[in-house]
Symmetry: C2
Subunit: 208 residues, 2 copies
């Protein structure tokens, strides 16, 4: 069995990463979402262990020291981290693991896991992104302004990713990502075993 596939879903804040990942997991039986740890406060409706592992700063720093994160970053004053052993074990089992992480995190993971599939979600327009962040209504205007100021720079990271997916429509964007995953599994370097199987059958059954 081939080693699993690591799929990184990332992009500017408010691009819709979280909603897309939720939909993607709902629609599929073969995908595993990696649950990040964070020190930020839960938003309304967010569930411990499902959306995030919500831990305090002290605990987070302890786990950094124990080298227990694949990546970790401090974004707008909150820590976010991807538990390492969880992801590595799932990949060893041949599973497809989805990481929803911010741009800083994705770039760090890429350095160690270049063979992953890096997807950059973008809003159809900056106006649309602005509206979404305001509608979320969980952040102060100051925080929103801070985020909007970063967005232009963040979009500049698109070329560090393999794919750009426009989130103009949830169904369409989710389906595009599902297709990317299926297509990536057809990459030749992930099908070396398959080719060997076909070759062996020739030797055994036709020429013997």
């Amino acid at each position: 069995m081939n080693k699993g596939l690591l799929v990184i879903i990332s992009g500017p804040s408010g691009a819709g990463k979280g909603t897309i990942c939720k939909k993607l997991i709902e629609n599929s039986n073969d995908l595993e979402l990696s649950v990040s740890a964070t020190t930020r406060q839960p938003r309304v409706g967010e569930i411990e262990g499902k959306n995030y592992h919500f831990i305090n700063v002290e605990e987070f720093k302890k786990r950094i020291e124990q080298n227990d994160f694949l990546e970790h970053a401090c974004v707008y004053g909150n820590y976010y981290g991807t538990p390492k052993s969880d992801v590595i074990n799932k990949l060893k089992e041949g599973k497809t693991v989805i990481l929803e992480i911010d741009i800083q995190g994705a770039l760090k993971v890429r350095k160690a896991h270049a063979d992953g599939v890096y997807i950059f979600i973008v809003p159809p327009s900056i106006n649309e992104l602005h509206s979404r962040i305001i509608n979320r209504a969980t952040d102060s205007m100051e925080v929103i302004e801070k985020r909007m100021q970063c967005t232009k720079d963040e979009l500049g990271f698109a070329l560090e990713y393999d794919y750009v997916v426009v989130n103009d429509n949830l169904e369409s964007a989710t389906s595009k990502i599902r297709n990317i995953i299926d297509v990536e599994k057809m990459k030749s370097h992930r099908n070396i075993d398959l080719i060997e199987e076909i070759k062996e059958e020739k030797t055994c059954k036709i020429y013997q």
Copy 2:
């Protein structure tokens, strides 16, 4: 508008390249099939200008001298070549151009057009491939044996391609290739203009 996409569909003889390409073009309005030139005799049902440009050896050699082929090769005693200007012009217009070519040809095209999408079609098994070539019934047993002897070596070229698609079922294989094309269009380096558009909108509409 982005430059077009060059899609190379290749693989061992009898893997089903031709049937898949025919189906792919039938199902799509946005794909252009490049018609190769060949000196081999037409098979029953093959149409000049649609399946191939059937030309004689003298004419073929003249066009080689004129540097009129993207690639050309002599396979089992027959010449095959891909007309250069036709493909280049379609790519300049932003079109998606499908090339159905043998392995020798695909590897030559890859040297000059590394940004193309290289797809390797394989039969589900060597037995299946053997049956297909015999059922085609256009070749002598000597030719068939010659081809079968090459197949194992040919399968070794899979890693020179981007993708491996198993042709276990025509509908499924065609649909997989359609997905590969759609997904390749989401590659970040093919969406630089899109990112710039989103950025510009921000500058114009939000910060002015």
